[in-house]
């Protein structure tokens, strides 16, 4: 049980995917202007990462490894992710049109979110078993959502602040992200188990 707790805390706070591992920066900067769309993006990413991790794990250990096709990992994983995102889009359109409407814009963006491919490759590199991989994938995407949500809140405030002209837009956002990353470094002293 302690392993899972440790994976969750590490993935959300200590080794946050955005602030410590630099994955998923594009949506982090692109879709973080409003807290509501940040939460929408977070939900969509959580869903895709968790699902993609499971499928990638199964493919790696039941297809690629027995056939000794390890070198195809990158191609297979990215195709699986692209396929999953497409399927998700079609299924959600039919089953949950309301949710599809609210997430619609973000869904196609997820294929090129490096957090998804990154997590799929990381769980294989770390040698996690299936349950640990699911936990890691889910916790990581919670960490992503948390980062996106906090950052969107800050940017909403930034809009109302007088920022020096040259720093407007992305530069001040990056500097804020740097300060947030420093705050998240405070978690790195935590030891579990």
């Amino acid at each position: 049980m302690l392993t899972y707790l440790s994976i969750i805390i590490t993935a959300i706070f200590i080794n946050n995917i955005v602030f410590a591992q630099f994955l998923g920066i594009c949506p982090f900067l692109g879709v973080s202007k409003k807290t509501s769309s940040a939460l929408g993006m977070g939900a969509a990413v959580t869903f895709v990462i968790t699902l993609a991790t499971v499928v990638a794990w199964l493919l790696q250990y039941y297809v690629l490894d027995p056939l000794e096709l390890g070198y195809l990992q990158t191609i297979v994983f990215i195709l699986v992710i692209a396929f999953l995102v497409q399927m998700l889009e079609i299924v959600m359109k039919k089953i949950a049109p309301a949710l599809y409407q609210s997430l619609g814009v973000f869904l196609p963006l997820i294929t090129t979110n490096c957090a998804v491919l990154g997590v799929a490759i990381l769980v294989i590199q770390k040698g996690f078993n299936l349950m640990e991989s699911v936990t890691y994938g889910f916790a990581t995407s919670l960490g992503f959502t948390l980062a996106l949500w906090i950052f969107a809140g800050i940017r909403e405030q930034l809009d109302l602040t007088a920022v020096p002209r040259g720093m407007k837009g992305v530069p001040i956002a990056l500097v804020c992200a740097g300060i947030l990353a420093m705050a998240f470094m405070g978690f790195s002293g935590i030891k579990i188990g």
Binding site: A20, F22, L23, Y71, I75, L79, L117, G166, M182
Partner: protein, 197 residues
């Protein structure tokens, strides 16, 4: 001939992928803890970009419009896999320091972006020039950011000492420094672009 230089130049200065278009941020922030790492990551990405641009431009008439994005991704992923095998065979140290960011070149927005915006519509040689320009622009940006972080963080540039390491600000080598350094660099570039135009 003039036209090709213009294409290359366009990727380096007016359409610099990092400072102007803000593409490929993950690799930019994640691999620039030193000037050498930034340079190597830039060269690796540029190599894939030139090859994928050439192939995508060559096959653009054979690929049906509806499946072009998956087809582009497969082309890019093939080159990335080849690169990954070459790097892990000949440069194991580089492989260790860049780590997960080598396979992640696949999802670098610059590659798919150039494929969709340029290589899918233009002849092969033009696309190679475009890839070369963007590749050089990306490499330049990464090396610059890596250099700034390395000097401020450890007092070295490409491993040779400029001032004693004790005076370095370690934070610039760690994660927050990447965000801060890139933020200020983009602000400076914005400032220069505004005054020159």
């Amino acid at each position: 001939m003039k036209n090709y230089w213009k294409l290359i130049y366009n990727g380096i200065v007016p359409g610099n992928p990092v400072f102007v278009l803000l593409l490929g941020m993950c690799a930019t922030l994640g691999t620039t803890s030193s000037a050498m790492n930034g340079l190597m990551m830039g060269v690796a990405t540029a190599a894939v970009l030139i090859c994928s641009n050439a192939v995508i431009s060559a096959i653009k008439n054979l690929v049906p419009d509806k499946v072009r994005i998956p087809a582009y991704i497969v082309v890019i992923a093939s080159f990335v896999t080849a690169l990954q095998l070459v790097i892990s065979a000949y440069m194991p140290a580089l492989n260790a320091s860049l780590g997960i960011f080598i396979p992640l070149i696949v999802v670098n927005c610059i590659l798919l972006g150039r494929a969709e915006a340029f290589a899918g519509k233009n002849p092969v040689i033009d696309s190679v020039c475009d890839g070369l320009g963007c590749g050089i622009g990306f490499t330049f940006a990464l090396t610059l950011l890596g250099g700034v972080r390395e000097i401020l963080g450890t007092g070295k540039i490409f491993g040779s000492e400029i001032f004693p390491e004790d005076y370095g600000m370690l934070i610039f080598v760690l994660a927050p420094g990447a965000f801060l350094a890139l933020g200020y660099l983009i602000a400076i570039v914005n400032r220069i672009r505004k005054t020159s135009c």
